[in-house]
């Protein structure tokens, strides 16, 4: 596990008798854009929750930056440099856009002034500068997604886990989010992202893992994945005859 930034080793998550994730392993290298795809209910978000400490994995290990992080709390994981966004956006609704991002920036500074500077910088990089004084709850969904992105970027993460950051967005909005993601990678961060939009995934990812019913179905480059008959079957149905 020398140069892998994130290594997921035989992770399973059981909720009572229900197995949401079963024996999933993969590794993410530094500065990769790594896609995690699969039909609804495949266990993608659950896997994110296991990685970021929201629910500990039932079995298996999560190793980040050569540290075992299975039993760390979400805030400890964040301080190690791994931060996530949410499929259903979670703006701090009664705070302003600027204050939302400052909360993220306080991960790396104690000073109000510095936090504000970091926040402004990140708001600019996602193009939200004109909304700084607005309350976060009043933004439309596309801008809330960008706000989530600015907020996690303000923690200066080594790795971002983006949970359907393009979900519910139109073509132009998706494009601008993908541009931001590329520029974040240019600056040295690693990105794992869950996405349904196959076009978005294949256009941006270096490597993709496909989950289906909690099990890893395939792993490979975008070309390998789009040509994989198992993946096509899982997405289009049919295929699996018992």
């Amino acid at each position: 596990m020398i140069q892998h930034l994130l290594h997921i080793s035989h992770v399973s998550k059981h909720f009572g008798g229900n197995v949401a994730v079963s024996d999933v392993s993969f590794s993410v290298d530094e500065k990769q854009i790594f896609g995690l795809i699969g039909p609804n209910g495949a266990g993608k978000t659950t896997l994110f929750n296991c990685i970021t400490g929201f629910f500990p994995a039932t079995y298996g290990d999560v190793i980040f930056d050569n540290k075992k992080i299975n039993s760390l709390r979400p805030d400890e994981v964040c301080h190690l440099g791994m931060v996530r966004t949410w499929q259903r956006v979670k703006p701090l609704g009664n705070l302003t856009v600027l204050e939302n991002v400052m909360v993220g920036a306080f991960c790396i500074t104690n000073s109000i002034r510095e936090a504000e500077a970091i926040a402004q910088e990140n708001l600019q990089s996602v193009g939200l500068t004109e909304y700084v004084g607005k309350s976060a709850g009043s933004l439309p969904i596309g801008l809330k997604k960008k706000l989530e992105l600015a907020r996690v970027l303000a923690t200066h993460p080594k790795m971002l886990l983006l949970d359907e950051i393009c979900g519910g967005l139109n073509y132009t909005e998706t494009g601008s989010i993908l541009d931001i993601i590329r520029s974040v990678r240019e600056k040295g961060a690693t990105i794992v992202f869950i996405e349904h939009d196959m076009k978005a995934v294949t256009s941006i990812c270096d490597r993709i893992v496909v989950l289906n019913s909690g099990v890893k179905l395939a792993e490979g480059t975008p070309e390998e994945i789009t040509n994989n008959p198992d993946v096509i079957a899982a997405y289009l149905g049919g295929g699996h005859h018992a």
Partner: protein, 331 residues
Amino acid sequence: MKQIVLIVILAAVAAAVPLFVGESPYFMGIMISVLMMAALSSAWNLLGGYAGQYSFGHAAYFGAGAYTTMILISLFNLNPILCIVAGMVVACIIALITGSIVFRLRGHYFALASIAVAEIVRLSVLNFEFTGGAQGILLSDVSLWGLDLNSKNPFYYGMLLVLVITLAITAQLRKSKTGFYLQAIREDQDAAASLGINLAFYKNKALLISAVLTSVLGSLYGVYIRFIDTSAVLDLKLSIEIILTAIIGGVGTLWGPVVGALLLVPLAEMLRSNYLGDVLVNAGLVSETSAFGLFLKENLAHAHVLVYGIITVLCILYLPKGILGLFRRVK
């Protein structure tokens, strides 16, 4: 900074009040109650308004201060200042135990658990012997630095001082990392945790500050009234009054609790003393012997809790963000 200046100016105005009404112990008594409720509600607001953790058990910390102080004075005749410090320590201990257990729970469960802790404290005090049980504790004599503790002035200034400190802490908090973190926790706990906020640590921090301030007020109250029992300082009713004052004034605002106390405490007093009935009768609008006059005299004085409740319901329906919420900038 602007807020701090405002606090200082208003505190100076409040400090001058006894010079003008020094002869009226009744008025001073009401003013002390206003300051105390404003401070209690502001202290609660740190936890409830900023961190969004609604404690229904703040009477426990008030009672901790009051009982610790009264017991130490009556048994050992300790200096009241030392007793206040001891009360703070006891409140800290209760807060730390409560926080470490209860902050694992979220939302309504935290509110329920805070009631449970307060009831445990109340029932323990009621059943121990050294706390005076149901009889409470009566203090015959107390002295501090030659102050005239039979006069109301020392307590007026004491309550005012605690209120100013509480408001200053609140104003400072809003401009600090901790203040941002508490508000983030209020808005969304999962988002807060994912951004590196240690939820339990910051909630405990807010609870601890809130509990210590509350205990000081309890200590002052005990020495002021010189008699405490569980129904006066540990009752659920007190916890609820603290919350209502904040809600009606404006939760999560600096001045909301002060506005709430300025409105509710005199109102409760007016209703309790049947002020409204007297005014109507004296003005000749209502005959004292008429059915309505009798109703006012006989029933309204006992119905102050009801009126209080109606006002609360109206506020919740029409001013969900409290009185100060009306003036808040809508973005």
